[in-house]
């Protein structure tokens, strides 16, 4: 059992079991709630792969887009109905979510956390998939996709990624498309399940007023035996050109005012600690442009070119990396021209050391505060583990970041030759 001290004085315990499952426990004395999450290192990006040493043919397997998310829906189903009712017997709630590279199943409870934890491990390891229940799920998932399609923020993000990338599956909606979802079969689902849900591709985290030793014992004693194939997963990605697919795209939707989203496609050069460092550097760099304390925020707001929705983020993974900056705006073209001036000004040497120091203070406080959220803390333990990012080094990394590094990142990463602008304008109504 390994331990790590958090900067808020708590201790994180971790252990990799003999079946390959990695577990984290964060005891939170006095808290009444327990949160548990079991995650597979498997998301919407993993639609072409090979399982080495499994006896399967060596040919790469391709499956329809949206299958990780489809499986996430289906694992709740049991022969006798669904698993919601069984958690409900303890007043617990259970849920799940899928991202580009992770599928997570979670519960939160104030009663019988041991039962919940055991049930979580049980239902994720016991798929009940039939032709009928897979067909039935399609109607629900199509309604979920339709709900997102009606969401302007979701739509503009999708539009941007479709044009930032040529081939990489990050350009596809996590849920897939109506067509791809309709084409998913029981066999596809089992093939993915058998490949990606082997214990050495999973991680489990528990946060609450629990004893770490006892928690690890419960997991070890109750984690179902894996009798299916095992092997090294090789994820296959298409060759992605360095350039963007298209540098300017527009669409219309029934909305009140235009939306603007600028994306920069970065070369994915970082892994592990480097990736974490890059995240910190980019957080600071993007706050200089879109943070509430930046000069540019005030100027753009005064010019009535942005509103509260103005924001920026860096999204990094060993496989892909991009940054986005965007807002609702009355005039996307004017906002674009202004942002260009602001970004070019910062790139030309406009980063001040005092701004960087102040933003480091802000990130320091935000990091401490983040440990109050069970969900955020547990999910981050797992997502950092999957990407081999050392969470315990966060504050040291933050302190060591220099103004020069921020300056250099702006110049290198916010490169107009690798940028896409996506705009959604209101539909012009004739009625």
């Amino acid at each position: 059992m390994e331990t790590i001290k958090t900067p808020t004085g708590d201790t994180i315990y971790s252990k990799t079991l003999s079946n390959g499952l990695t577990c984290f426990v964060l005891p939170k004395p006095k808290f009444l709630r327990t949160y548990g999450v079991l995650s597979a290192r498997y998301g919407s990006l993993d639609s072409r792969f090979r399982l080495k040493g499994s006896g399967q043919a060596d040919a790469p397997i391709g499956v329809p887009a949206g299958i990780a998310h489809f499986l996430e829906h289906k694992l709740f189903e049991e022969e006798e109905g669904n698993v919601f009712g069984r958690f409900a017997e303890w007043g617990a709630s259970v849920n799940a979510f899928t991202s580009y590279n992770q599928t997570s199943y979670l519960f939160t409870t104030t009663e019988n956390w041991k039962g919940c934890l055991t049930l979580l491990m049980e239902f994720v390891n016991r798929p009940f998939l039939t032709k009928e229940n897979v067909e039935k799920e399609k109607g629900i998932i199509v309604q979920e996709l339709q709900m997102y399609a009606d969401h302007p923020d979701h739509r503009i993000h999708t539009l941007l990624l479709e044009n930032l990338y040529h081939e990489h599956p990050v350009r596809l909606d996590i849920g897939g498309t109506v067509e791809s979802v309709q084409s998913i079969t029981v066999e596809d689902l089992f093939r993915c399940y058998n490949t990606f849900y082997q214990p050495n591709n999973l991680a489990l985290a528990v946060v609450g007023d629990v004893d770490p030793k006892e928690t690890l014992q419960i997991i070890e004693a109750n984690y179902p035996a894996w009798t299916k194939e095992q092997g090294a997963i090789e994820r296959l990605y298409p060759e992605e050109p360095r350039g963007v697919k298209s540098d300017w795209v527009e669409e219309q939707l029934h909305i009140s005012q235009p939306r603007y989203l600028l994306g920069f496609k970065h070369e994915p050069l970082w892994q592990g600690e480097d990736l974490l460092r890059q995240q910190v550097i980019m957080s600071i760099a993007l706050r200089l442009i879109a943070g509430r304390s930046s000069i540019s925020y005030g100027n753009l707001y005064e010019a009535d070119l942005i509103n509260d929705s103005f924001g920026a983020s860096f999204n990094g993974d060993p496989q892909y990396a991009y940054s986005v900056i965007g807002s609702e705006t009355r005039d996307p073209d004017a906002l674009h021209a202004q942002l260009r001036t602001i970004i070019d000004g910062l790139k030309a040497g406009g980063v001040s050391a005092s701004d960087v120091e102040r933003l480091k203070r802000q990130l320091h406080g935000a990091h401490l505060a983040s440990y109050d959220s069970f969900e955020y803390t547990a999910n981050r333990l797992i997502s950092y583990y999957f990407r081999e990012m050392p969470l315990h080094k966060y504050l040291d990394l933050l302190q060591s970041v220099t103004t020069e590094e921020v300056q250099e990142a702006l110049v290198r990463q916010l490169d107009w030759d690798h940028a896409t602008i996506s705009i959604i304008r209101p539909v012009i109504n004739n009625d």
Binding site: N82, G85, W90, S293, D304, N307
Partner: protein, 433 residues
């Protein structure tokens, strides 16, 4: 998690919850008033105006930099609607100063900054800065027009406005566009001063060293001898069911159904109403979720909730446009089934446990510990988490049937896609596999 209450003057109450459980200090100030046409819009402007600058921090930039210096303190303001009251909220959340290098001085600095920003706006003293006023009026105008961007919120707002057109509850919490164009800077400032000094104020704090916090608030808030009396929510008898349909360029239809519950927070059987609502549509094991989603595959989301001050139960669902008749029928069947006594012991027990679990969990969340008191301050009766848990525990089968028999459908609303042709916009992805 219990609050100790102290009176800081007529109508000004301080509620303190001393605990070292969290890594943060959380304070919220609530000022309540009756929900009224002109005032609602004026109040909605205040959070926008106050963040623009105070006497000490004259611009958004100055405020933002002060908050960063306070190690990412979060400070904000919003407008809430509970029953027929509109509530102006100010909040502060900062890292527990004991965890930080500068420690003690940060607590006082944080609280003083908080109070200064919300009570000493930048301006000549009888109005807000004119340019700030004009700009924030346009921000609110965009926000009100922008409601349409979130289809579900938009449908719900339209539904409430139509169902409660003749009651204060029909007023949107951020007011309306017509009033907005008529408001002057002077009007809004006057309303702001009235609110600050003449309406009921409740201040809640959760964290460590609250004695110091209490002393500081006591020194900052001037005493008063009178506070404005507020109205109670209007009660309505339903005559005929109403049906409204509107259209928009959409992929999915949004359905909303409003029932008058004829029971509110202060009535007997209020917790039976919460349990009955949970059985119907409050959980993933509920009747609506199981029947509309899991069995019939008609929706991704479907559920129901209770507005306990006004006495409304609202059912919402996102459904395919060609399936609305089917969905409506299944929903009504579930309500009828409950009225006829179809509640299994499992449903009752699971729902009670679910509600108790959710209520108990609030103890772990400082903002939640505070927010759950909102209905209590509106209705004039605060209840502890333990009291609520006990009330839920005592709810019986008969009471759930009784409260369901007393609900009455008032309005059904559907926001439908303009054309019934299926959309093809996802087609671009096709052929990649």
């Amino acid at each position: 998690m219990k609050f100790i209450e102290r009176e800081l003057g007529q109508g000004v109450r301080l509620h303190l919850c001393e605990t070292d459980k969290f890594k943060s200090l959380t304070c919220k100030v609530f000022i309540q008033q009756d929900l009224k046409g002109k005032d609602a819009t004026s109040t909605a402007l205040l959070p926008l105006l106050l963040r623009r600058g105070s006497q000490k921090f004259p611009s958004t930039l100055h405020i933002a930099r002060e908050l960063e210096d306070l190690y990412a303190a979060e400070l904000g303001s919003d407008v809430l609607k509970i029953g027929e009251r509109q509530i102006l909220e100010f909040y502060l959340q900062m890292v527990d100063p004991n965890l930080l290098p500068e420690g003690d001085t940060l607590l006082e600095r944080g609280l003083r900054t908080f109070w200064e920003i919300f009570t000493q706006p930048q301006g000549p003293g009888d109005r807000f800065v004119d340019s700030y006023f004009e700009q924030e009026r346009s921000t609110l105008e965009q926000d009100l027009k922008g409601l349409v961007n979130d289809r579900r919120s938009y449908a719900l707002a339209r539904f409430v406005a139509l169902m409660c057109a003749d009651e204060p509850f029909g007023i949107y919490k951020y007011g309306d566009l017509d009033t907005l164009t008529q408001l002057t800077n002077g009007d809004v400032f006057e309303h702001y001063q009235n609110l600050l000094w003449k309406y009921p104020v409740d201040i809640f704090c959760v964290g460590r060293n609250l004695d110091r916090v209490a002393k500081l608030f006591a020194s900052l808030i001037p005493s008063r001898d009178r506070t404005t009396q507020l109205e109670t929510a209007t009660k309505i008898q339903v005559d005929d069911e109403r049906f409204f349909e509107e259209t928009m360029d959409l992929n999915q239809a949004v359905l909303a159904m409003g029932y008058r519950t004829n029971r509110t927070y202060l009535d007997d059987d209020y917790y039976a109403l919460l349990v009955a609502n949970g059985i119907l549509g409050g959980f993933a094991h509920s009747k609506l979720f199981m029947n509309v989603r899991e069995k019939a595959s008609l929706a991704y989301y479907v559920g129901s909730n209770i507005e306990g001050s006004k006495g409304l139960m609202t059912i919402t669902a996102g459904i395919s446009d060609d399936k609305q008749e089917e969905a409506l029928q299944i929903i009504k069947e579930q309500v009828t089934a409950m009225q006829q006594g179809e509640i299994t012991p499992d449903e009752l027990e699971q729902t009670k446990r679910g509600l108790i679990g959710a209520m108990t969990s609030i103890n772990d969340n400082p903002a939640g510990i505070i927010d759950r008191n909102l209905i209590g301050i509106v209705e004039g009766e605060l209840r502890t988490i333990d009291q609520v848990v006990e009330s839920i525990r005592r709810v019986e089968y008969d009471a759930c049937i009784r409260v369901m028999q007393d609900i009455k459908l008032d309005t059904t609303y559907i926001l439908r896609p303009q054309s019934t042709e299926p959309k093809e916009q996802e087609g671009a992805y096709h052929g990649d596999h």
